[in-house]
């Protein structure tokens, strides 16, 4: 899958533009703070219709502006677009010009996987970071997962509100919905981990990590079965009431990454952690490609500078070995490994220029 063109209006500091993107991709070069990451953010926005940086929509629009608009055409006659109206705090999402009643109807039509320096948090950060990553990936891979996730979040929010109001009977009225959706999440996550371990090991070996790495899903096994939930939830009543939140369910699970028997989060070197984060993104790429039958585009934000020379080369080789469009950023042209031979665009003060042909 590739972006044929990208329309941006009032998006961050970027000048309004319609950009024709080369099929192989492009390398965006320019000083930090001038808009390279913003451009990747714009390309990633219509995947899940939210900022990949976790920003609120009102922060994504140009400062003091009326909102923003972004559209990606990813095939002839196939365009996803999002318009945010700041005054009404309303988002309008269209598929091929037709307005969609729900965001979920348009999620994942256009697919891109991003590699960002902040990905390090996937390894260094708390369980919530990894759950969010899993949820995002599996939602894009599988419609059933997305539906279950939305129902689960709704049921959990209602149940917790009832717990805060100290109304246990009302809280338990949401148990069947929680169990149905939650058991789907738990079992799909486990199935995915079981199928992904080997590939993750292969990706890390390809990046030069020789130590034994493993991937393990940490959570209550029994919750794969929806019928097991009632007993678990009832056993947790006192704790739930005391804290005003539900203590049973996949919203408390973790994906444990370890190296030679120790958690990468606590014992990995920064270099190993960076490799592990990159390998998770490569895994995401393969998972989506297999599940959806199309290769997502790659958005690679200045991750090379963070890696040592050997890891840089290895990552570049792995990226090049997969077909598909690659949009890569770096402060200077020489920061982009030679293996990634792409047309270069200059990004300066939010303006994008096709230049630097001499460097190609």
């Amino acid at each position: 899958m590739r972006a044929i063109d990208l329309v941006i209006r009032s998006f961050r500091n970027l000048a309004d533009a319609t950009l024709d993107l080369p099929e192989s991709g492009v390398a965006l070069v320019g000083p930090n703070g001038h808009g390279k990451t913003n451009l990747l953010e714009a390309l990633a926005y219509p995947v899940l219709f939210r900022s990949v940086r976790g920003s609120a929509d009102r922060e994504v629009g140009r400062f003091g502006g009326p909102g923003f608009h972004v559209a990606v055409r990813y095939a002839a006659g196939s365009t996803v677009a999002a318009t945010y109206f700041a005054a009404e705090r309303r988002k309008r999402i269209t598929l091929d010009g037709e307005e969609q009643a729900t965001v979920s109807a348009a999620i994942g039509r256009w697919l891109a996987v991003g590699f960002f320096p902040t990905d390090l948090a996937l390894v260094q950060g708390g369980a919530a970071e990894r759950r969010r990553w899993l949820d995002r990936m599996l939602s894009l891979a599988d419609r059933t997962y997305l539906d279950a996730l939305l129902r689960y979040r709704g049921a959990l929010a209602q149940r917790n509100a009832a717990l805060r109001a100290a109304d246990l009977a009302a809280a338990d009225a949401f148990n069947p919905a929680l169990a149905r959706a939650g058991s789907t999440l738990a079992s799909r996550r486990r199935d995915w981990v079981a199928s992904a371990i080997q590939l993750w090991q292969a990706e890390l070996a390809g990046l030069g990590e020789l130590a034994a790495v493993t991937l393990r899903y940490k959570g209550d096994d029994a919750l794969i079965d929806a019928d097991a939930w009632d007993e678990r939830l009832r056993a947790s009543h006192q704790r739930d009431l005391a804290r005003g939140q539900t203590h049973v369910g996949p919203h408390r699970d973790d994906l444990v990454l370890s190296l030679s028997g120790h958690t990468l989060r606590h014992y990995g070197s920064t270099g190993q952690q960076r490799s592990a984060a990159v390998a998770l993104r490569l895994l995401e790429l393969e998972t989506l490609a297999t599940a959806r039958g199309v290769r997502p585009a790659l958005l690679v934000d200045d991750v090379f500078a963070e890696l040592d020379h050997d890891r840089q080369r290895r990552l570049a080789t792995r990226l090049v070995s997969r077909p598909g469009q690659r949009i890569v950023t770096a402060p200077r042209g020489e920061d982009i490994p030679r293996e990634l031979d792409l047309p270069r665009w200059q990004v300066q003060d939010g303006m994008i220029r096709h230049v630097l042909s001499e460097a190609a």
């Binding site: 049921a155 009225a173 949401f174 919905a177």
Partner: protein, 197 residues
């Protein structure tokens, strides 16, 4: 705020009416003869003054007890529990139900501060206390909150073992095509499939 603005704001509060539609409605009214507006105002004032919930089922009526609850031909042994009065109208239109109703006046939604006490579950209790009820049909919506409301009522009804409790079946729409049915609906339809022989 001037009266014009007030009216637009009030219209915009109605379900399904945005600010633009509210403006269009108000400007349309302004072009009508003055009596039309007075009739509308009087109708709204009349409803506010005279309509209140039926003492037995909770649906809006001008009398103490509504027409359906007073009708001796209706089966007092069958009770259909719905969220809103609009659902009564839908079930009535089908002509397939000849029992009586309980209108809860909403559905369980703790996030919006709507707990069991905010619903007219007491009306159901009163019907059950009468001793005539054989079956309670839980016809709340199949939304997350509607399902939770049905689950909650099931617990309430557990204290009445002699009463049959049922839930509206979910499945294929009549005249619908299988390929357009979503996975959840199809799962329900399969689970609740009918035996032919």
């Amino acid at each position: 705020m001037n009266v014009l603005e007030t009216l637009i704001t009030e219209f915009a509060r109605l379900p399904g009416v945005g600010r633009k539609t509210a403006q269009r409605l108000v400007y349309h009214l302004l072009q009508q003869p003055r009596e039309r507006m007075e009739t509308l105002a009087a109708a709204i004032a009349g409803v506010a003054e005279r309509v209140h919930p039926c003492a037995e089922c909770g649906q809006p009526t001008e009398d103490a007890v509504c027409d359906i609850c007073r009708d001796p031909r209706r089966d007092a042994g069958l009770v259909c529990v719905v969220e809103e009065p609009s659902a009564v109208a839908v079930v009535e239109r089908s002509g397939a139900f000849r029992g009586r109703y309980v209108v809860l006046g909403g559905r369980l939604s703790p996030l919006d501060g709507i707990g069991p006490d905010a619903l007219r579950i007491d009306l159901l209790g009163r019907r059950l206390a009468g001793g005539d009820v054989r079956e309670v049909i839980l016809a709340t919506n199949s939304s997350l909150e509607g399902e939770a409301t049905a689950t909650y009522l099931q617990q309430v009804l557990a204290g009445h073992p002699g009463v049959r409790v049922s839930r509206l079946a979910r499945g294929l729409p009549v005249g619908g095509e299988l390929e357009y049915v979503d996975g959840v609906t199809l799962t329900h339809a399969l689970t609740a499939r009918e035996e032919l022989r």
